[in-house]
């Protein structure tokens, strides 16, 4: 079990404070979704947890060890990170791109050991891209490419999986499919943290929701406790209705509130 946490985590980019002393703990086996308005610091939080930005104060901790002090390969084996958007610079095959996820294990794409090959095949199957293995990743549609990149992160088989807006470029069917993959990853014992703007899907798939606003955590609890009219108004600046559809929360945003900045 790998416990990921943020302790008094403060990050500035340039001279601009982006995260101000955040305390969070993520539980293995649970899927946590991070929501919040644009510029709330969600991506910076994820990058700090992944050890990609150095905190100004406090620390991101993995089993009580500061992530920033771990060696590159050690950190990479423990934390798989999928950035937002994500480009593929060269027309590598889908299989080669996914195999990059094995680099932290010292496995090179052209000489994968059986375990690595298995992990790659499993990851490709998880995102439903069997048959695409030899296609150049640059020739795929945006949604297909997003799934290839997710498969790359899955192939590392790290105990922690951090994904930044994994469903933003996907059609509804593949959104559900990717969220199923993330849920299965968590149910397999992984600590999964995903950023999303889809509040209804967050309500449906997340075990926990973190609401961020202006560099701080406004709420961290179950979807029912976080996705409330008050939070929608205070953090997103929108008037919203929270419906209960046979036990499932549906968030319907209605009007921007005049006071919202």
């Amino acid at each position: 079990m790998t416990h990921l946490a943020a302790r008094s985590l403060a990050v500035s980019l340039g001279h601009k404070p982006v995260l101000g002393g955040i305390d969070l703990a993520f539980t293995p086996g649970r899927l946590t979704m991070v929501i919040g308005p644009n510029g709330a610091g969600k991506t910076t939080l994820l990058r700090a947890l992944a050890g990609l930005v150095t905190p100004e104060k406090g620390a991101a901790l993995l089993d009580d060890r500061p992530v920033a002090r771990m060696s590159g390969p050690e950190r990479a084996r423990a934390i798989a990170y999928l950035p937002q958007g994500g480009a593929v610079a060269w027309p590598l095959s889908v299989a080669s791109v996914v195999a990059l996820g094995r680099l932290p294990h010292g496995e090179e794409p052209d000489s994968l050991p059986p375990l690595g090959r298995e992990a790659v095949a499993e990851a490709i199957a998880a995102v439903g891209l069997q048959g695409f293995e030899n296609r150049p990743a640059t020739a795929l549609s945006g949604g297909e490419r997003a799934r290839v990149l997710l498969a790359r992160a899955l192939a590392t088989k790290a105990p922690v999986l951090l994904v930044d807006e994994p469903i933003a470029a996907l059609d509804p069917r593949h959104q559900l499919r990717v969220l199923e993959v993330l849920r299965a990853y968590a149910q397999g014992g992984g600590t999964v943290v995903a950023i999303t703007h889809d509040l209804t899907l967050a309500a449906r798939y997340a075990d926990e929701v973190v609401l961020m606003d202006r560099g701080a955590v406004r709420a961290h609890a179950t979807p029912e406790e976080v996705l409330t009219r008050d939070h929608m108004a205070a953090s997103f600046g929108v008037e919203a209705r929270i419906l209960n559809d046979d036990g499932r929360l549906v968030v319907v945003t209605e009007n921007p509130l005049p006071s919202a900045s």
Binding site: P91, V97, D110
Partner: protein
Amino acid sequence: MHFLRRPLIPGLSILLAFLAVASLAIGPAPISPALVAKALVSDQGSASIVVREIRLPRTLLALMIGWGFGLTGAALQGLLRNPLADTTVFGAPQAAAFGAVCVLYSGLVGALSWALPVAAIAGALVSIALVVLVAGRNTTIVVLVLTGLAVGSLAGAATSLAVSLSPNPFAVTEIVFWLLGSLEDRSGVHVMLVLPFIAVASALLLAAASPLRALTLGEDTAKSLGVNVQRLRLMIVLAAAIGTGASVAVVGSIGFVGLVSPHLVRPFVGYDPARTLVPSGLAGAALLLAADCAVRLIPTGAEVKIGVLTAMLGVPFFLWVIFRRKAELAETPA
């Protein structure tokens, strides 16, 4: 394409062996390949002198320097995720030449001193670091090429200034001819002067293979895969400067080999930056060796300068790459 991958390195090696023999045989006094072999291992009178003292150093220099250029081009294209990256485009040869000219001009050292490659390396380092710093991250190809153009022009102007202020007309002629790039009249001392630098640059660049692969998915992903991106950048910039600087110090300005070589091997090995490195180095060696044979075969009074030939072939190739990839280059960040 997989069947094409395997024979590439052996194929290029055979081509290199063939070109090396040709390079030892071709010249004002043609020597048959059989005599070349004999002259290398036993005393064959004047043939041995020509082959060992005149043509062997030139052949070895073309092999080493071509290899260095090819490898550097592939690594820089991988680092910047850009098929137009090369030391030539970054103005490094001009900057290295300026460094070397400063040393030559000062008259403090002879053309065979270590100070010459060191000054050239310093010049190349400044230019490459400047381009990578100003344009290397999250920028477009246009900015990259423009920065390289600016740095190269500045170095070229500074060199011209140094040359025009030179009090000695003979030194001017020597510097100008040396600037054009040539492997003519080089000796074993030149080979020994450039060898350690090419060796160090090669070691640094080959060690970058796996990190370059991770960089295909961008800096953040590469970092998350355990790559120290800053160190990688430093390693490649340093290696590119060392290889280019030492080469320019010994043979003058020879450009575009590093730009062309990776493109020549990609149809065979694919786009994986790690897989491109060694074949691109071998292709660079073959290109420079072939160019050096060609300048000896072109029937002109004085030998055509190899730097002139590579530029005349390289620039149209550069334009062709831009033309072919115009659409994607317009929107691809470097």
